[in-house]
Symmetry: C2
Amino acid sequence: MTITLFDLAGSEDDRRFSPYCWRAKMALKHKGLEFEAVPWRFTDKDAIAFSGQKLVPVLVDGGHTVYDSWNIALYLDEAYPQRPGLFEGYESRALCEFFSQWAFRTLHSSLFKVIVLDIFARIHEKDRAYFRESREKRFGMTLEEFGAEPKQKLADFRGALEPLRPVLVQHQFVSGKGPGYADYILFGAFQWARTISPIRLLEPEDPLFAWRERLLGLWGNYAREAKGFPVWA
Amino acid sequence: MTITLFDLAGSEDDRRFSPYCWRAKMALKHKGLEFEAVPWRFTDKDAIAFSGQKLVPVLVDGGHTVYDSWNIALYLDEAYPQRPGLFEGYESRALCEFFSQWAFRTLHSSLFKVIVLDIFARIHEKDRAYFRESREKRFGMTLEEFGAEPKQKLADFRGALEPLRPVLVQHQFVSGKGPGYADYILFGAFQWARTISPIRLLEPEDPLFAWRERLLGLWGNYAREAKGFPVWA
């Protein structure tokens, strides 16, 4: 039975911009598993009510329903141990938990300010009131205030990437010799932007640029072919 | 032949406060290796001139001279593969490189502002002019300006620890089930403070407090017995 993933979509069915759904999709590809990524919108709460959740990703694999990208990664390694592992072992899994916390608190928070207005422009019409209301409540300001001074926000985001650069000069991937779950955590942030915003996040001489190219090229350009904006050279 | 580690000391021979030397000492203990930690001061350049370096840690193991705490960790795992590994494998080693970069750029930079004046008060008299001049040049301000508003600086440091807290609620150690090199990277920062400053960095209810207790207790309280200030409960 094919695995189903409920996957956040924008105004068009094939504009898939959730960084957490990207983590789950890259994890499924890494495991070599077939899956159907069903478009879902913020306000489609009924469609995933069976899972007890109000947010995606939600994965359904036969009788198993798993929510939250981290739980999905752990589930996939546990349910499919004979396929390539997302983590080398328990230590790298614990270190990935730190990496995920860092990405959430540092990268996502600064990148969100860069792309928030592009997100708002490309989400489904039925999601707009929900998005504005929920985010403005969270930020304590309007979307327009949150996304003001985009040049400064972009500089802040590029600065937040600083600890990654020496690592990606030394190694092809955050996980070392080959892509691992830490790479998918980081890549999710870049796909969040690439699918929804024309902004140029990285300069070609940035070690992260070549790393992102490697990720975009995996599995026959799987992520590159997703609807989004090209990565300019 | 006993391994020798050149280890930064303060006004007293047994006040050892370098975070990088602490990484090396914890790595040596982890490997179960005997070593002598020789006191060294910032201005003792001649004592380590044979290594081509001007900074510690410098490790001498028979015919091998190794400098830089990261190189020392890699050397120890390579030279003593039959002893407990500092890294589970190549992936966790790459993730530790990121962790080390993050600790340097985020934790050390904010903690240095909290303890800089305590360091200056407890370094060897012969190091004072060197320390003031080199650090004031690096900071572009006086030591006193750099260390001003210590309450705000402490709050910033505690904030910088945020991504670690969910991990240490979930796991006993940053490396998961047992202490690994990532723990020694983080612990080095806390020993830097504990050996030189009476400041209370953590509240007992902080998950990092219990984690630090675990590290202080390793190998029969090895790090706790180092000259420093008690960790108040």
